[in-house]
């Protein structure tokens, strides 16, 4: 972040979902509520998101180590990122808050010099990212997504893109301590709508919202 012109405080970033109780953390306005519910939807939009494109079989795949349809954690740019094979010749790298630039630089370094045409784009601010966690998470998805997310088809580490509540969404199954957990990644402007549709679908199971672990304000 370059220094500010003018006298106002540093720029404030906002996630894709309107927080119900707002608080500021690491330059982000986040939802201050915590949740201990069994079924939780958290806004993880502040995480760094970098989209890498290249040939289906080529440098990015071999460097990042996943293929289309699968997601795995890898060391990228000095942090651990979740690398999602989000489509043919397309990888989504989800890293800790604030690491987008470093991630871009790191990947650029590793693919440079290769003959294929590879491009990178920082979509941290361009996409909404939320996480749905809980044993009933598959039931919630079953109300809004036509793809079967059972183990046999989408085990932990599976990733696909489909329509969720009519919004085109990347879905990544990324379980938490054996509990089903899904990352949902869509165009930023429809994030609010998608979150509302998920809350609506999860209502009968007692869903609650919260903010990304790590950004949840203290106290």
């Amino acid at each position: 972040m370059s220094d500010t012109h003018g006298t106002a405080p540093g720029p404030l970033a906002r996630g894709a979902l309107e927080p119900r109780v707002a608080a500021t953390r690491s330059g982000w306005v986040v939802d201050a509520r915590r949740s201990v519910a069994d079924l939780v939807l958290s806004d993880e939009s502040p995480l760094a998101k970098v989209l890498v494109k290249g040939p289906v079989t080529g440098a990015p795949g071999s460097v990042l180590g996943t293929s289309s349809g699968r997601a795995a954690r890898t060391e990228v740019g000095g942090g651990t990122a979740l690398v999602v094979g989000s489509g043919p010749g397309e990888w989504l790298v989800v890293g800790p808050v604030g690491t987008a630039a470093a991630t871009v630089a790191a990947i650029e370094r590793t693919v440079s010099g290769r003959p294929e045409f590879v491009s990178l784009i920082d979509l941290t601010h361009g996409r909404a990212l939320m996480r749905l966690t809980g044993s009933r998470a598959p039931s919630v998805l079953a109300k809004v997504c036509a793809v079967d997310v059972e183990d046999a088809v989408v085990p932990n580490g599976g990733a696909f893109r489909s329509s969720v509540a009519t919004v085109v969404t990347d879905v990544v199954r990324d379980d938490r301590d054996g509990t089903p957990s899904f990352l949902l990644h869509c165009e930023r402007s429809t994030g609010q709508f998608l979150s509302e549709a998920l809350l609506d679908a999860g209502e009968e199971y007692g869903i609650e919202t919260t903010t990304l672990v790590g950004l949840v304000p203290e106290g």
Binding site: G87, P88, A146, R161, S162
Partner: protein
């Protein structure tokens, strides 16, 4: 609902795709006569039987695929990536 066997994503509901139809080859824009060009614009084959047609997986891999479908039964017998002919 019809399932389309996307070569990249596996079988998916047809509503995830946009139908592109059985568009003919683009005539040479320099030498095409109005007849030929407008035939290309307006007249597609409309068979009752097997048809080769383009679909776009807009809610999935975002690839254009070429599908062989029977227009009487909606049975699909193949689907390949249009650009790479991968199945």
């Amino acid at each position: 609902m019809m399932l389309l066997p996307c070569p990249w994503c596996g079988p998916r509901n047809a509503t995830e795709f946009r139908y592109g139809g059985a568009t003919g080859a683009r005539p040479d824009p320099v030498s095409a006569t109005p007849q030929q060009w407008r035939e290309y614009l307006y007249t597609q084959t409309n068979p009752l039987g097997w048809s080769r047609e383009g679909w776009y997986h807009r809610a999935g891999c975002r690839r254009y695929i070429t599908v062989e479908r029977h227009t009487g039964t909606n049975e699909v017998r193949s689907a390949l990536d249009t650009a790479t002919e991968d199945g």
